[in-house]
Subunit: 231 residues, 2 copies
């Protein structure tokens, strides 16, 4: 048995769907594979899990190596383990998604940085392995979760406008007829989780919008009292 064959006798990995938002479409960070299998193909960033490493830790490590970022929102979605999903052996993978502020992502420290690129989720073609299926699964989870927990803010800068927030929700949920502006503002403000900063946008060539921040402390206090976010 060759070294490669034996290495892949049985292993597990993590793959990370890294979401970002820049005001337009929802984006994910993909890397272009530099080695076989699937050389040259776009793929989710991932790695084998080290023997003494928790799954969450491995996912955090993959994220940090690629983006330099720590302490970001990360959630496990599920395992993918079809027998033939990896051409070189039996590798099951645990899928994660994470949410980062795209502006925090600058040219990256990791070696695969040069081949990493943001892609609109709507324009992602075939990916290596079963990564398209993993992406679909993570996107579906995000769509559900973003309505049940205030995680959308993880994709926005600390100060944001209500229009930006609405565009974020529209880019994730993609409702057929868009979201009604008045109803959206009513609902999001009624949570009382946004602080009006009494500041406005600068540098825009039209009426500047007010800036808000998400009040995480208040949210956690409400949760402790039984509150459940729902938008």
């Amino acid at each position: 048995m060759s070294e490669v064959e034996s290495f892949f006798k049985s292993a597990f990995s993590v793959d990370n769907v890294i979401f970002g938002f820049d005001g337009g479409d929802l984006k994910i960070l993909l890397i272009q594979r530099g080695a076989a299998p699937y050389k040259g193909k776009w793929a989710l960033p991932g790695d084998l899990v080290y023997p003494n490493e928790d799954l969450d830790t491995a996912a955090e490590r993959v994220l940090e190596q690629l983006t330099g970022l720590r302490d970001v929102y990360l959630e496990q979605v599920r395992a993918f383990g079809a027998v033939d999903r990896h051409p070189l052996g039996r590798v099951i993978t645990i899928a994660y998604f994470s949410l980062i502020k795209i502006s925090d992502y600058t040219v990256t420290p990791a070696s695969f940085a040069q081949s990493a690129m943001w892609h609109s989720v709507n324009k992602v073609g075939d990916l290596a392995f079963d990564h398209k299926e993993i992406l679909d699964s993570c996107l579906k989870r995000l769509k559900r979760k973003v309505r049940m927990a205030p995680i959308g803010f993880e994709l926005l800068p600390p100060k944001f406008t209500l229009t930006e927030l609405q565009q974020l929700y529209e880019s994730i949920l993609a409702p057929p007829k868009g979201i009604d502006k008045r109803n959206f503002r009513k609902k999001i403000l009624s949570t009382n989780l946004l602080n009006d900063l009494n500041q406005v946008q600068e540098g825009v060539s039209h009426r500047p919008a007010k800036l808000y921040e998400f009040d995480k402390d208040k949210y956690e206090q409400l949760v402790a009292e039984g509150y459940s976010f729902d938008i």
Copy 2:
């Protein structure tokens, strides 16, 4: 041991939270461990995944070996992979839950049958490994899923009464004040997914209730048209 070799020392398993309902509490099927580690402790039925076996297939196999049942509702929840979760080595496990009609489960064919027993989910104490955590996770998933998809019927016999159905929902969701009978019937019948069989219960010493069946074909047709179950 080299780093490469140590990747071999890992294994993966599936564990299955098997739910059943008998009219009273919601139940799960546990087995009593006959060997170390955790000998004598109650645990979720599970097994290592064979090298040429898909994860779903492994979960189905575990279920069939224990209950003799095939073609039952089965859903992956997520992976549990803490480094120290298994005392004998690195074993990550993929958690599944399944829903069976408790009346279909008779004395079982598998060798561990003698030590398998139904336990009320509310009265489960400590379990082997991290199985309590897995159970909690699966129960949480079931609570959400049973409202978003018509999977509750998987726990009931083909013909059931509305009271039985309501008791099922109450046993899963455990709402503080119970569920209002009239509102529940209104909502569930308004889906038009229950066929009135024009039959009544027999052998009860009070007014017999009408029997219904779930119309799976109709449901699948509606889903194809964009329908989304919500109760």
